[in-house]
Structures are given as structure tokens and as C-alpha cells.
Symmetry: C2
Subunit: 345 residues, 2 copies
């Protein structure tokens, strides 16, 4: 069962409000660019590929409301909209990649009449969505070979259908391995502070009848020491040209632990996650989010005394030397990553 | 400011219901052994030394209600009460240590009249409380030398006044270093699932005006990589004779991370935390607690789909080779631990 986090219509889109999972599975309507911006910012929709797709449709919704017949004015609006969405969330590169891709298509075809350009943007957004789905399926197909009978795979956050166009990166591997009737288990880290592992990953795994267990993020080391975890699979929000990976906070934690316990650590991400402009992980901008996500967001009451300082980095960076392989839609990249990544881009 | 989690009176005790912190600081009354048992089991009172103290008073409350004048019957009741409290929580050894200590005192003085024995048990429980306070102060005094100006110390869970007789083990070091006017900072891991770091440690640090910051457990690795943490201090629930340490889940995680980042990793615990009957960490029984602690306890709503499997180990074991030193009230023990620990016991 694949679930797309985004549905498109002729004048609006609908997205799954993932903050309400697993209690409620509801689509909310986005009529314009501001609705989409807010949905990404507030993490109604999240996951690197998914926010790229959402931003593409957001760009379209923004452009379609522009009334001008003046091409220069129209293109200026395009640039403003690209800047607008670029300010939305800083770490996942797929957002910038999707905006750039659509902007380039428009600039290439800028001699077309404005209505045709609007239509082109719409079709480009749909292409990005469909293309992502195809790429996820390829990753699933290529990566599932890494999963063997009796494996117990650890994952963090949600790199599933709802983080992409509907099939997922990490979870795509699991869905494919399940289709291939492999007998494996999954352990999902709850993923503080927003609990995407507990709320979304376990929900997707349950829909697909995969044997899954929830743990606190801090319990991973203990289970590794007990030899209860055989492989770690994580998604990515941005990958530098040397193979350093930015992903959900806690990923680097798992990479160090996997290294210490001699457990393979795999990253699963489409090529749109690689950033041609970033040479090393240190250069990736890490988003810090509101402290209330930690102290009160999902809680019945305040979880920390008033006025305490809080650090809430949403992502961390895993150095390439801790990564066993990166599974992409064009193949499984193994160390040394840098040569192969340079060859691809 | 020191806060004792337990107050004693002539016919009852009061304990701070720590589950309600930081919102409410309230004492709840325990009139009998069942009240105390429940308070420990439900973690109204927690922390290895504190539950030892509570069990000692629980034993007294149980014995004082026994009406018999038959010494053999009385001693049988004593054994039942020891068994009763021993079944309460399995990992922290201070519980067993305190029960054993009181039982031995009674057996030594078993020729005394029953009312005198009851009084002796009461005074023994008070001794354990006062003795723990003295030992915490000694640890604070000895251990504070490890804290230097500009240090940023990471800790997990709550090894503070409320986990002991009022001064704390790890936090005792911080309070002492603060008294010595050292300029250092503390980062506290929130400590899922019950959030003792966020709720209790930060509350105690704030009361004592120590510069403290809250993070998610999974963010520790990222901050270490950024050289924002210079030392790690953790408490202990049980220490094996070879120096392996059982403590709050996530402690072993931090030990591996500290090792990887070349950061000293210190354990602070009184001698009552050492278990003479346990040679290695593998032999320590780890308590698994209710899955609801992870999926719903403090939350406004369910955080995971119904029916998913959950693993909720409350503790983990850190191997001695990951520990830089163990700070006790009789001195700072450095590796190889085994020789020194054998010498002490």
C-alpha cells in the first residue's frame, strides 16, 4: 500500500497533515503558495523529497494567481516565489533542487505565452512527483538486496512513502524486501522531538504488515550491544559531494554506534538529495527549530521549567567514513564516495 | 539549596511526587509499606540511592504495624517485607543494599524486645538517609576537582538531590563546583521516556542557578562533534565488581559517543551502588517497563499506532573500558577498576 502525501487538482493541492498521524489520517487543502509554505514550515508535510515536491506545486499555485501579461513582471514574480520557498526550511536540499529545476524549465521556455508557462510549471511539478516515485521504486529494487532473512534493521525518523512521493527511500527498501518475501524485522527509533518514527514510520510499516518494534532513540546502543540489530538504514536531507550526510538529528548518533558495534550503516536517498555546491558536511546549514517542540509540543503539560535554555537542532551531519554505502536510484555507491559522486555530477 | 525527596515523621513519611515536576512540587504522604511500594514502583520517588532510602522507611512502616509479640512471627514478617520491597524494582542495587542492611541490624539485635527493634529500624532508616547525604557531600567535594572553568558537562536523567538524600551524585559535583565559583555549563539530556533530565535535573539546576541547557537525547552526538561538550557525568543504578555500570537507558549510548569523540566519561555513585554479588555487567538484571511510558504517558494522545510492539528497557550497561573514572565517597577510582573495587569490598 503506497500513500502519497500530496494530491494535485486543477486549482489546488491536498496534503496529508502528518502531524496528526497516527491518530488521524487527513488531507488538508492548500489553495495558494502561502498555504503550502505554512504546511512545509509547520511540518504538516516533511521529508526531503516530499518537501521538494510540495515546493514545486507551491510555486505553481503562486504563479497561477499572477494576473500580469508582462513577461518581465511574471519572471520577477517567479524569482520572488523561488526566494519565498527557499526561506522555508534550510537543510533539505531537495527543496532548492525542485525550485531550481522548475525555474530553469521556465527560463528555457520563457518565450512561451504566460498561460503556457503556467501550464508547463504545473506539468513539471507533476513530473517531479512521478519521477520521484520511479526513483524510489528503483532504490527499493536495488537496495532490497542488502536485506537478508533474519535481518533486524534499525531506522530513524520517517524515510517512507509520506516523506517522498509515496513509496519511500528506506521504507521503500523494506516494502520491496517484504514483496520479495524476505523474513526480516524493523526497529524504529521514536525520533524526538516530533516523533516521526513512532507516529509515521510505525504507521506505514503497520499498513504494510512489516514486523516492527518501537524504541526510544537512546535505547539503540543497548540493543546493538545485545546483537539485536544487524543493519542500520537512514534517509538523507542533504548529501555533500564527499558523501557526508545531513539527516534527522540522531542519525549521526546511530552512525557512531553502528561503527562501534561493527554494524553496517546505509543511507538511502535519490540523486536530488546530493548538493553539487557543498563539498563537505560542515558546510551544510543546520536548521534549529523552536524549543517548544522539546518542552511542550505533544505533551499534556510543560516538560521543563520555564525559562530554561534549549538547543533543538533538527538535523546532524554524519561523516562519510561512518557510512557503509549510499543507495541511490542509479546504484549502490560504496566508499570512497567522492570519486563516484564526482563522476555522477 | 538542597531538597530531600523524603521527609520522615513519627508514624508516616512524605515523599516528593517527582512525576509532577517541574509543574508542581508536592509531597505525598505514605502511611504504610504499600504506599511506599507503590511510590517506588510508579516512580513517584526514583533514583538509586533515594529508592534505597525509601525502601528502608517502607520496611519500618511495615514493621511498626505488626501487632505480634512473638519474635519468630515478627522476624517472619520482616523477611516477607524484605521480599516485598525486593520485588519492587530490579535494577538499582541500593534498594537491596538498604533492605539487607536493616535486616542484618535486626538479626544482630533480635534479642531486643519488639518495640525496641521497631525503634531500631526507624533509626537505621534515618541513618541511611543521613549517611547518604554525607556520602553525597564527600563525592561532591572529591569530584568537583574534575570540573574546570569553561567546562561544558553533559548529563542524563537525574542524579541529583531528588535521586538521593538531598544533594545528589552528579549534581552534587555541579553544586560543589558552583560553590567553588567555577565557571562551567551543563547540558542535560531530556531522558526519554520519563523525561527526568528535562523535568527534574533542569529544575534542580535552575534552583541552584547553574547555567543549563536542555537537549533531546539524540542530539548529544552532534554537540560532541561540534566540540561543545568537554565531559560527561552520569549516575549509576548498579556497579559490578569489574566496574561495569548499569544506569538509565541512554547512558551506554553516551559512553560510546564520548569514547568516539575522546571526551572523558565519569560515573558518580556511592559505594552502596556496588554489587558484591555481580562480577560483570552482563549479569545485571535490566528492568523493562510499560510500553505506555513511550507511546502515551506524558502525551496529549497516542504517539504510536495501536498494537505496535514496543521495547522499553529502563536501563543499559556500560562496559568498564568506556569509563574514565568512578567518583565515590572514598575516592576517585580509575582503571583498571577491578583491582581497586576488589580491594574496597
Amino acid at each position: 500500500m503506497n500513500i502519497c502525501p500530496l494530491l494535485y487538482f486543477s486549482d489546488h493541492i491536498k496534503i496529508v497533515d502528518q502531524r496528526r498521524l497516527p491518530s488521524k489520517f487527513v488531507y488538508v487543502r492548500c489553495n495558494n503558495e502561502r498555504d503550502v509554505y505554512k504546511a512545509i514550515k509547520e511540518m504538516k508535510i516533511r521529508g526531503a523529497p516530499a518537501i521538494g515536491i510540495a515546493a514545486a506545486f507551491g510555486l505553481w499555485l503562486g504563479l497561477r494567481r499572477i494576473k500580469t501579461t508582462n513577461k518581465a513582471v511574471f519572471l520577477k514574480h517567479l524569482n520572488s516565489l523561488v526566494d519565498f520557498f527557499s526561506s522555508c526550511r534550510p537543510t533539505a536540499v531537495n527543496l532548492f533542487w525542485a525550485l531550481e529545476r522548475i525555474k530553469n524549465i521556465v527560463l528555457e521556455k520563457k518565450d512561451l505565452p504566460i498561460p503556457k508557462i503556467k501550464d508547463l510549471v504545473y506539468r513539471s511539478a507533476i513530473d517531479i512527483l512521478k519521477d520521484d516515485y520511479y526513483r524510489c521504486r528503483r532504490m527499493g529494487h536495488l537496495g532490497a538486496r542488502l536485506i537478508k532473512d533474519k535481518d533486524c534493521c534499525l531506522t530513524i525518523c520517517n524515510a517512507g512513502g509520506l516523506a517522498t512521493s509515496g513509496f519511500g527511500t528506506v521504507l521503500g527498501l523494506f516494502f520491496e524486501a517484504k514483496n520479495e518475501r524476505k523474513k526480516f524485522k524493523v526497529i524504529a527509533c521514536e525520533t524526538r522531538p516530533l516523533m516521526q518514527g513512532a507516529r509515521i514510520t510505525l504507521w506505514e510499516l503497520k499498513q504494510n504488515k512489516i514486523d516492527a518494534t518501537l524504541i526510544c532513540d537512546s535505547a539503540a546502543a543497548y540493543l546493538m550491544a545485545q546483537k539485536k540489530i544487524s543493519k542500520v538504514f537512514v534517509g538523507a536531507d542533504r548529501i555533500a559531494l564527499n558523501g557526508d550526510v545531513a539527516n534527522k538529528i540522531g542519525t549521526y548518533n546511530l552512525a557512531v554506534l553502528a561503527n562501534f558495534h561493527n554494524i553496517p550503516f546505509y543511507v538511502v536517498a535519490p540523486l536530488s538529495t546530493f548538493d553539487k555546491n557543498i563539498k563537505r558536511g560542515e558546510d551544510i546549514k543546520i536548521e534549529y527549530r523552536d524549543e517548544k517542540e522539546i518542552t511542550s509540543f505533544y505533551f499534556k503539560r510543560k516538560m521543563a521549567p520555564s525559562g530554561v535554555k534549549v538547543l533543538n537542532p533538527a538535523f546532524d551531519v554524519t561523516k562519510n567514513n561512518l557510512i557503509s554505502a549510499i543507495i541511490t536510484e542509479v546504484g549502490i555507491i560504496r566508499p570512497p564516495f567522492i570519486d563516484i559522486i564526482w563522476k555522477i555530477f
